[in-house]
């Protein structure tokens, strides 16, 4: 079990971009189960007018994908150590064959099931799915994350 405070140490993201609440189960370097609670008080709901139809309150796919990607990064870190430091940057590089047949809403607990397919020096390949209860809301054929030295991204160095 990895609690939220520890996840904030592992991931280079700050709040509110840390989109995982807890890791429930990890087989280091192989598989992981993580959860995220969807809350109506998250920034993605703040400017939404009251009274819109339910479907408009579906958690954005972009953030769901990011949340799953962070779970994959934590799984990678369970084998490789901390990801992204002062002189490196963790980047979401690619995805393939992902489907989003369901939605999550405020009040739902999203569960990510992640498998680390393989890693090379600075890249990790993961697959898996996201669930609300027994409903699969997303499947991910392949996600690729890379860690790059900040020096190869000159546009980002020193940005404030």
């Amino acid at each position: 079990m990895t609690e939220h405070g520890e996840l904030r140490q592992i991931l280079p993201h700050g709040a509110p971009m840390v989109l995982l609440d807890r890791v429930e189960l990890v087989e280091p370097g192989r598989s992981l189960r993580a959860v995220k609670t969807i809350s109506g008080s998250e920034p993605c709901y703040l400017s939404l007018p009251a009274g819109l139809p339910r479907r408009r309150w579906a958690y954005p796919v972009s953030l769901l994908l990011e949340s799953f990607g962070q779970a994959a990064a934590v799984l990678w870190a369970s084998r490789a150590g901390r990801l992204g430091g002062a002189d490196t940057v963790l980047m979401f590089a690619a995805a393939r064959d992902c489907a989003f047949p369901g939605q999550a809403y405020p009040g739902d607990l999203v569960r990510h099931e992640v498998t680390l397919e393989h890693t090379v020096a600075d890249a990790a390949f993961a697959s898996g799915s996201s669930w609300v209860g027994d409903r699969r809301i997303a499947s991910y054929g392949s996600l690729v994350a890379v860690v790059r030295p900040a020096s190869v991204l000159p546009a980002m160095v020193g940005a404030r």
Binding site: G14, L52, P53, R56, A93, A94, C98, A99, R160
Partner: protein
């Protein structure tokens, strides 16, 4: 463009131009990245970068706005066949997107291909997606 009327991490489209050609809808989209965009100070602290998933969000909002509401429902991203992020945008830069929205297939899937660049023309991302109107907007 006005803020989306569905949950979204930020208002991810500043300018949207849509025109029809050869049975497709061609979109030109601009998003100017600013340091105080929601979530941006957290991605990453001290080194803000427009997240790759926000590039996806820019395309999502542009396509859904261009397609418009049908029976009170908006089209949403249903699948990602492939996407690749090759560059990063920092505050002060603009994201330029050219997207082609095809006709809906027999199963309702609407194919979208998008190419994203910086102002200097350098590649930032390529996306191959499918959108769909929900069966019911309950």
């Amino acid at each position: 463009m006005s803020a989306p009327r569905f949950a979204a991490p930020l208002s991810a489209v500043d300018e949207l131009d849509a025109r029809s050609a050869d049975g497709r809808l061609l979109l030109s989209v601009r998003k100017h990245v600013v340091a105080d965009d929601p979530y941006l100070p957290a991605h990453f602290p001290g080194r803000p970068v427009y997240p790759g998933v926000f590039i996806l969000e820019t395309v999502r909002q542009a396509v859904s706005a261009a397609l418009g509401e049908v029976g009170g429902a908006v089209a949403d991203l249903a699948s990602v066949a492939a996407l690749r992020f090759v560059g990063a945008l920092r505050p002060g830069e603009s994201l330029w997107v050219e997207a082609a929205v095809g006709a809906a297939g027999p199963d309702g899937g609407i194919p979208v291909e998008a190419r994203c660049r910086r102002a200097d023309g350098s590649d930032v991302a390529r996306l191959k997606l499918e959108f769909r109107y929900p069966a019911t907007d309950d």
